[in-house]
Symmetry: C2
Subunit: 413 residues, 2 copies
């Protein structure tokens, strides 16, 4: 939680945090600025033991003030004079502005560096700053950074937003299933009232519409993939494909609050009309793996353990896994789950991989998403729920309940 | 244009480009991968004289293939073995993977580094790589990078997409004006059929709906700000505010193609019912400044010149400008325009600032957006068109025509 930042800084001997860039698609800035709508020139400075300060262009001062933080107009550091003094060299002028800021705030010691930026600019800027500010050591923290650590557990306010987003998202999932169920089947595909095949593209368009109506957004799209595409976990699906009966549909939906904010992440696998026996069996196996994973999760448990158990279970059934067959494109081939929040993937991984020493903590939100994929056999199955490590029970609480039924019954045409 | 990349690389003695990260909100990767939906682990390598190659996680291979480029599964470099060999140190494992890639592709010499990433990770990664790969000099290019230079002019395919997006966006602007005009006025505000005031929030919601319907998205929101808020250029507007008659509304609309793609950017200032004389006069002055700017633009013209002329014009009328009064929050206080494309702000600036030696070139797309802002007097005016430097005429062509009328007439309630 954000209240841990000072302690985390102390543990890592960080005297200050320097965060750059706008709020949009920049989780550290969003987190620190409480989601204020500030642009790419923004810098936030947080000194240990002090509240963050936002330095913004004057014309963003109203939006910046919504952060509740102290706001400084960057005009104070005379950026146009710096640009003139550096004969128009934007990088050096930028470095001088950051230098002036650091001096103004009296920064010294270890200063952690955060925020998404073009890599080339980052390298050039900090090479220059290292020369200008010998009393500061700019620290390039890697995952898990202090932000990763703070963000791993959610506050009551964050959970309230996440629960609202989850309820809206589950409503979209339900509407999607109803849409499929409301169509008639003819010649092995779903058809519209006009008699033409219902396509993946048409379904996705309705999903996007409901996403919008319910104050969500899907910045990275939605996975709604059928048959062989469903067997390639990150295939988004082909718009022109009809909804064929008896073929697996993987519907992976990961929207966030409209206008930027917290993500939800959820997957169901459906077969319209009926499911072939091998799909039914595979779905039951993935469902069982899901239960094994959930039942193994409690506060204090190693984050590696649920995936170790799932690997073991799938391997006993004869499925290849990324443990038994590294690089496999068949069987169970991705991590079991991940934490999320302002990014769809945050730093905690339910993955049985070297170096993963994290333990489940109260207040984490995580996906649990086993799957089995057989592209040559034309099907894939994934089941994903979104859980909160409930502080009261110490156990995972499902956020956004939805049944795990495979088959969606339809009427003949 | 993208076809210039090899020449630009040669001019800058770059032997290869190393681009990291997914397509989403990462313009260099989008540009190089032709918009293929690839995730955060992606790396693209472009050697001079060769087509780019995409290195992706296996489960994204189908989406990656849509780039039309050669695709390599990163499993080839055995990431899990690297992680085990590095005892779970994710940064060192990542560095070893990049090292293996660079060796596999036979990279040496100057390798430019691109793509948006967390700054801390960038610093740590390239510090490590510099040790591992002494034959490579990783170059942190700053603006204008080779991508900035290539992207400054648009191809026929890009222009076709931009024109489609512009037509849709202009339709949203027209619908918004009709929405306002369709309401009745009562007690100085617009009211709905139910008799309650029409609010900024309600109008923005309709704008978002039309944005969605017309296959656009507004990732960074929309500015629809009234009165004093309209005088703070980047205030987004307050949802609860009613639409008051006779107050300036600044409507700055900068959507892009749905699912990621090319941006459009456009602003009109409106007064509902009537405009006070000083607003009418100011609007006429901004309109005149706009014409001065457009008339000064031709292929070969300095990018500084239009703003120099606008500064001169406004200052003659007695308005403060950021030239005459650096850091002013009154008068004309921002750049005149900017290029755009996959980002809403690209590298070319119509700004009269030191070091801006760019000239207008055929194929550029730019905004032209003079404005005057008087927060204490409670109004702001901005007029923004989107222009294409037409190769046939050598002059700016307006993309998305819309009249610049200030007053929206309404019926009494």
């Amino acid at each position: 939680m954000k209240t841990e930042l000072d302690t985390l800084m102390q543990q890592r001997s960080l005297d200050a945090l320097l965060v750059s860039g706008g709020t949009h698609e920049n989780p550290c800035m969003y987190y620190l600025s409480n989601g204020a709508k500030v642009g790419a020139s923004t810098i936030a400075i947080k000194q240990r033991g002090h509240d963050p300060v936002l330095i913004v262009v004057g014309m963003e001062r109203d939006e910046a003030a919504k952060s509740g933080l102290q706001v400084v107009d960057r005009a104070k550091y005379k950026p146009s004079e710096l640009l003139a003094a550096e004969a128009g060299d934007a990088l050096r002028a930028h470095a001088r502005l950051v230098q002036a800021l650091c001096e103004d705030f009296g920064l010294s010691g270890n200063v952690g560096v955060y925020g998404r930026a073009e890599q080339g600019h980052t390298l050039a800027l900090f090479a220059d700053l290292a020369q200008r500010l010998p009393a500061i050591r700019f620290v390039g923290e890697t995952t898990p950074t202090v932000f990763d650590r703070a963000q791993r557990t959610k506050s009551a306010d964050e959970m309230a937003r996440i629960r609202r987003a989850a309820a809206a998202a589950i409503s979209v999932v339900g509407q999607t299933r109803e849409l499929l169920a409301s169509h008639r089947a003819r010649d092995g595909v779903l058809v519209t009232a006009a008699g033409s095949p219902l396509t993946i593209g048409a379904v996705k368009r309705e999903i996007r519409r409901w996403t919008f109506e319910l104050e969500l957004e899907d910045p990275e799209g939605v996975i709604f993939a059928i048959g062989r595409d469903a067997a390639v976990p990150h295939s988004h699906g082909e718009d022109a494909h009809p909804i064929e009966l008896g073929r697996t549909i993987v519907f992976d939906y990961f929207p966030r609050e409209a206008g930027g904010g917290y993500f939800f992440d959820f997957t169901r696998t459906w077969c319209v009309g009926h499911a072939p026996p091998e799909v039914e069996r595979t779905h039951a196996e993935v469902h069982a793996a899901f239960d094994i994973a959930i039942n193994s999760m409690f506060v204090g448990q190693a984050c590696r353990e649920p995936q170790r158990l799932v690997n073991e279970y799938f391997e006993k059934l004869g499925h290849p896994t990324s443990r038994s067959h590294p690089g496999t494109t068949n069987g169970y081939l991705h991590g079991l789950g991940h934490s999320l929040g302002l990014s769809v993937h945050e730093a905690i991984r339910l993955a049985d991989v070297p170096g993963n020493d994290d333990k489940l903590e109260a207040g984490m939100v995580l996906t649990v998403e086993p799957g089995l994929y057989y592209p040559e056999r034309g099907f894939g199955v994934r089941i994903e729920d979104f859980v909160y490590m409930n502080p009261d029970t110490g156990r995972p609480e499902t956020i956004g309940e939805f049944d795990k039924q495979l088959v969606i019954p339809v009427r003949p045409g």
